[in-house]
Symmetry: C2
Subunit: 332 residues, 2 copies
C-alpha cells in the first residue's frame, strides 16, 4: 500500500496518512498494525525522518495539513537545518502509541515498522534519521537492522541500552500507574508517573532557578514551589495519552539493546552533560563501539534530557554540522 507517492509537488507539501501492515514482533508474535505517518516539505527533496520521545508523534511541526504546532516546532522552519523548503520531513506515531497493542514492544519492532513504512512510501533511502531519546534508540535499531534505509543517523540523548538507573526510575513510574489502577484512579497514577518522569527529563539547575521559593502550608500540608508546575505537567499528559500506550512504550525503552559494533551507518551521537536518563558515559561507550562510524558532540544544558526540545538554536547548529553533506549540499 502506497499512500503518498506520485502526488504533484503542490500536493506533497504535506500528507498525512496511514498504512496497514503485518509486523513480526520480537516479544509479541506477529501482529497487524496500523502505521500512521506525516510527510511534509519540498517535493523531490531529500527525506529526513524525525523521531522523538515516547510521547512524541507524527506531527513534528505545523504544515499545510495541520496548522497546529508540532512537538519539534523550534527545530523545523525557514533558516533551520530542517527547512521544509529544502527537505522533506517524515515522522510516524510509534507502534503502540494509540493504546491498542497491550504487549511488550521492542525498539526493533519500531525500526521494522519504519522499514515497512519506507517501503510503502517508495522511499528507498533516507538522507538522515534524526532521533531524540526513544527516537535515538529506534534510529540505532534501524541502522543495525536496515542499514540500506538511511545514509546517516543522528542520535540525540539516546544510546545503545537503557541505563540501569534510568530503567529503575521508569519501573517505579510504571508502579505508580499500577497503584492508581488498583481502584480505578488510573489518571492519578499516570499523572504521578509523568511527574516523576519530569524530574528525570530536567535538571536540578533548572529547578533551582525556577522554583527557589519557600514552601507554603495548605490545609496543614507542606507544598513545595514546584508542585503546581508538576501537577500541571501531569494533567496535561493524562489528557493526551492513555495508560496502556504509556506503559508499553515506557517498557520498550527498557527492552532496548543494540550492539554498536553492528552499526555501519555513519552516526553522530549528541549527548547532554547533565542528562539524568542517558549519562554521558553511555554516549561515550556507544561512540567507542561505533568506531570509525561514530562521532560525539556534547552539549551542556540546564534542560538535561529535554535539551533537544528546549535548545532550538544549539541543536540546530549541531544538526547543521552533522547533516551538512546531505541536506545543504555543501562539501567537506
Amino acid at each position: 500500500m502506497r499512500a503518498s507517492v506520485g502526488l504533484s509537488p503542490v500536493d506533497t507539501d504535506a500528507v498525512r496518512g496511514c498504512i496497514d501492515a503485518v509486523l513480526p514482533m520480537r516479544h509479541a508474535g506477529t501482529r497487524k498494525v496500523r502505521i500512521a505517518y506525516e510527510l511534509s516539505g519540498a517535493a523531490g527533496a531529500p527525506v529526513v525522518f524525525v523521531a522523538g520521545g515516547i510521547s512524541a508523534h507524527r506531527h513534528v511541526a505545523a504544515n499545510a495539513c495541520d496548522a497546529a504546532a508540532g512537538w519539534a516546532e523550534d527545530l523545523l522552519g525557514a533558516g533551520r537545518t530542517l527547512d521544509p523548503a529544502r527537505c522533506r520531513i517524515l515522522a510516524f506515531d510509534y507502534i503502540g502509541a494509540d493504546g491498542s497493542l497491550d504487549a511488550p514492544i521492542d525498539t526493533a519492532d519500531q525500526a521494522d515498522a519504519i522499514a515497512l513504512l519506507l517501503e510503502a512510501l517508495g522511499i528507498e533511502c533516507l538522507e538522515a534519521f534524526i532521533g531524540y531519546s526513544y527516537g535515538a534508540m529506534v534510529g540505532l535499531q534501524l541502522a543495525q537492522r536496515h542499514p540500506t534505509r538511511l545514509q546517516r543517523l543522528v542520535a540525540v540523548s539516546g544510546a545503545h541500552r537503557a541505563h540501569p538507573y534510568a530503567a529503575a526510575w521508569r519501573a517505579l513510574q510504571r508502579k505508580a500507574v499500577a497503584l492508581g489502577q488498583l481502584q480505578c484512579a488510573d489518571e492519578q497514577g499516570l499523572s504521578l508517573a509523568r511527574q516523576f518522569a519530569m524530574l528525570s527529563y530536567r535538571t536540578p539547575e533548572e529547578f533551582a532557578e525556577r522554583f527557589d521559593a519557600a514552601p507554603t502550608l495548605k490545609n496543614g500540608r507542606v507544598c513545595v514551589a514546584a508542585e503546581d508546575y508538576l501537577d500541571a505537567a501531569g494533567a496535561k499528559f493524562v489528557a493526551r495519552i492513555c495508560s496502556t500506550a504509556w506503559l508499553r512504550l515506557s517498557e520498550s525503552i527498557d527492552l532496548h539493546q543494540i550492539d554498536p559494533a553492528q552499526v555501519t551507518v555513519p552516526t553522530t551521537v549528541i549527548a547532554v552533560e547533565g542528562d539524568r536518563l542517558v549519562p554521558l558515559s553511555d554516549a561515550v561507550t556507544l561512540v567507542e563501539g561505533l568506531g570509525l562510524n561514530g562521532s560525539l558532540r556534547v552539549l551542556r544544558s540546564r534542560y538535561g534530557h529535554d535539551a533537544f526540545l528546549k535548545e532550538g538554536d544549539r541543536i540546530d547548529a549541531l544538526l547543521s554540522a552533522a547533516l551538512r553533506h546531505n541536506i545543504t549540499g555543501e562539501t567537506a
Copy 2:
C-alpha cells in the same frame, strides 16, 4: 527531669530513656512531646550527639542496653573517631518519628527538642554534633538557635536549605503515599515512596555496577534488574515506619531553612560529589555563608547521599580530622 546523670561509670555505659517536654513549635502551636534518647560510652568523656536521616533513630550502634546493630554501626567502635571508650554518644528519636504528631514539624523544632533534652540530661555543652542528611539540617538549626550547646558541628550531606529539585522529588514521594491512601493501599504507597527515595539516595554509577542485566518478562510485563532490590527496600521500610511519621518528617526537610551567616559555631561541612539530593553547589553556598566558621570537605562516592552510611573508613577519616581537637585531645 534528669534521667541519666549521677550514675556510676559502669551504669552509664548505656542508658535508654525518655523525657516529657512542652515544645513551642514553629508551625504547630505548643505541644507535649516525649523525647526518647540513648546515651552510651565512657562516663565522664565528652558527649557527641549523632543524628541521621529522617528514618534514623536513637539506637546508633550496639551497646550494653541493646545488642542489636544500630544505623551507624560502621562509624562507632574501637579504633574509630567515635570510640565509645573515649566519648559518650547521644542520639534521639526525631520528634514525630513515632507517628503521634500529625502536624508540620520544622527542623527548628527538632533543635529546640535537643536543647530541652540536653538541659534534662545536665549536659551543658556537646563536644560536637555530627549530623547526616536531615541530622545535618537539625545540627545547623541547633548551632543557629542554641550556639552555647555545642562546640563544633559536623554537617554531612545536608545544607542550609532543601534544594528545590530535591524538594520536588520528596513532594512526589508524598503524593505516592497519598495515592496509596486513596486506594486503601497505604503500605503500597509508602513502599513506592521509599523506592523513589532510594533512587535519590544512591547514584547511577552504583546501579550500573549492580544491576547491569537485561530486563525479563514476567506475566507479559517488563521487569528491570533493580526491581527486586527496590521492592525489598520498600517492604523493609514499610515494616518499620508508619505513613504519618514519614510524611511529616519528609515535609520537615522541605521546611528547613537557616541563615548561614547567623551560625557562629565552628562547622565542618562534608559534601559528596554526586549526591543527588544535596548538590555540591549548595554545600559551597553554605560554607561561603559560614565565613570563617566554616570549612568544606568533599568526598566522591558511588553511594551519593548515602555515603555517610556506606563509606565507614572514609567518613571516619573526615570525622577524625574535624574532631581532632575535641575528642582525641590532639592540639593544632
